[in-house]
Symmetry: C2
Subunit: 311 residues, 2 copies
């Protein structure tokens, strides 16, 4: 594809993120107990809002919307289904960070430059806020107002639950947990990351594609794209853990090395890790070319961003 106007990811993202942030803000508070209509308790909603709002790169929502636009040909207003999908996957990501930061897991006190949820609200509230955020992801995907077709609702719930569960994110975290202090082969490390981070990134792309009504061939190509950027994301994360400082990362740098966690850098060294990330980026672009879609600029630019980011 050639464009007369070059694609600028920042401008594209800024527009979409305004909508995503507003929807997250609205939807996370939509159930709040108002006194008039009994609903979610204010303390719990406060912890959920703290976990979700005002922070994060929102990579997953952007992937959902980019895939939706690539498949549907829309460029402007995302459909309600795509917006709900975008926010639901971010809720899953946010809940996983809340639980992951808890003392019995990574015991982290700093996240996105702020105290973590359990530091701010206590462990019990953090546990419950995470649990409620996971449920809310599926609430978002199943509106009763007719704005999302039932078969799309079902498909989105199928994709998200599998990416979040024992064969996805939670499964990957369990492997990660068991691997601390031990040695992993490159294959085992890849498997762990495919589940832990890759599944949800890939799912974001596939949810966007499902909202746009993609064909099986396109879905297959976009799944390959999702696999490549999912893995690249983690390789780059490992590189940044040793090359960036905590202020840039917004979280504690060097913590993986401190804990003798297996990483790509510890396994293949810095130079080879960087080369691997570049190779995966090439695979992502090749998959996009294979999809045969009219305009995949946002997806392509997001892949570049995943590999070239500084935090």
């Amino acid at each position: 594809m050639t464009h007369t106007v070059p694609f600028v990811l920042e401008a594209w993202s800024r527009q979409r993120l305004q909508t995503v942030e507003r929807c997250l803000d609205d939807w996370v508070s939509a159930n709040l107990d108002t006194g008039a209509a009994p609903g979610a308790p204010a303390d719990l909603v406060a912890a959920m809002r703290y976990a979700v709002l005002d922070g994060g790169k929102r990579l997953r929502p952007l992937l959902v919307l980019a895939a939706f636009e690539a498949v549907s040909g829309h460029r402007a207003q995302p459909s309600t289904a795509a917006l709900r999908a975008a926010c639901s996957v971010e809720l899953i990501h946010a809940y996983s960070l809340v639980h992951d930061d808890m003392p019995c897991m990574d015991n982290d006190v700093l996240r996105r430059g702020k105290p973590t949820v359990h530091v701010q609200f206590g462990q019990a509230s953090a546990l419950l806020a995470g649990d409620a955020l996971q449920a809310m992801a599926f609430e978002l995907l199943t509106p009763s107002d007719g704005s999302v077709a039932p078969d799309v609702q079902a498909r989105l719930c199928a994709l998200l639950s599998r990416a979040a569960g024992s064969t996805g994110m939670a499964g990957g975290q369990a492997i990660d947990l068991a691997s601390v202090g031990g040695a992993l082969t490159e294959g085992a490390l890849r498997h762990m990351h495919q589940l832990k981070t890759g599944a949800l990134l890939r799912c974001s792309v596939l949810m966007g594609a499902a909202c746009g009504g993609a064909s099986a061939l396109v879905i297959e190509a976009l799944a390959q794209y999702g696999n490549a950027i999912g893995l690249a994301f983690q390789v780059v994360d490992d590189v940044l853990d040793v090359t960036a400082d905590s202020a840039t990362l917004g979280k504690t740098a060097g913590k993986d090395a401190d804990r003798a966690k297996p990483t790509y850098v510890s396994l293949m060294g810095l130079a080879r890790s960087r080369a691997y990330a570049a190779e995966l980026l090439g695979q992502a672009h090749a998959a996009l070319a294979l999809a045969g879609l009219a305009d995949t600029s946002p997806l392509g630019a997001l892949a570049d961003m995943v590999v070239h980011r500084s935090h």
Copy 2:
């Protein structure tokens, strides 16, 4: 309704529970990493199995199946949708117990007469197993094999996510947490329990009704039935906490009183609590009569069991 053969809940339940136990056993292990096909890590699946299998009254699955039978007129094999719904609601219940028992919550070491999940597997594994069980509930509801119609999948996910989340179970637990050591009015106590326990019991009934294709009027009557038994369940729980011993309960008795948690017994005394449970049972039966269904014996008998149980 008169029957020539009197309805025996125990025989009815035994048959259904065989199927439910077998399905839970199969489905919780279905994702297991076999080496050939990469899947869920064995450690995580072991903790999930421990949390779910071989224990519990399975009240929620039985409510799903009883409501399905009442609405559909079927009496024999439950539909795939009803079975999946029955198991999914039990997974949500099981995950909530795992998280609820953790040191940062109730810090319980005994559950169903066995060490709790975090005692057996460690806190991090308990946290992840609970998270993965919640996701798996939605996996169960969204099979890709055509066995459950997409609109039914969407409806079941909508019901379950709302019953589990911030306006349901997790919300109720947050209110419970905030209420320890404090005073609640009867209205506030009822609101807490409607969310904490009531929402999932009511949801079980409504999921069964959705699988059977109930009319709006029937759904309304069954929702009333669900509300009544949901509340009755908690009132009886509070009564048993002071009248039964730990061996009968399979969990630590007297713990609510020890922690100065507000309960129905502390609020209205033992005699009035028992009378209230009986009143709620009457409401449940009245709602069933209102539903105008041919045979509600299982639902009626389950309501009796909720109120007259000894553990």
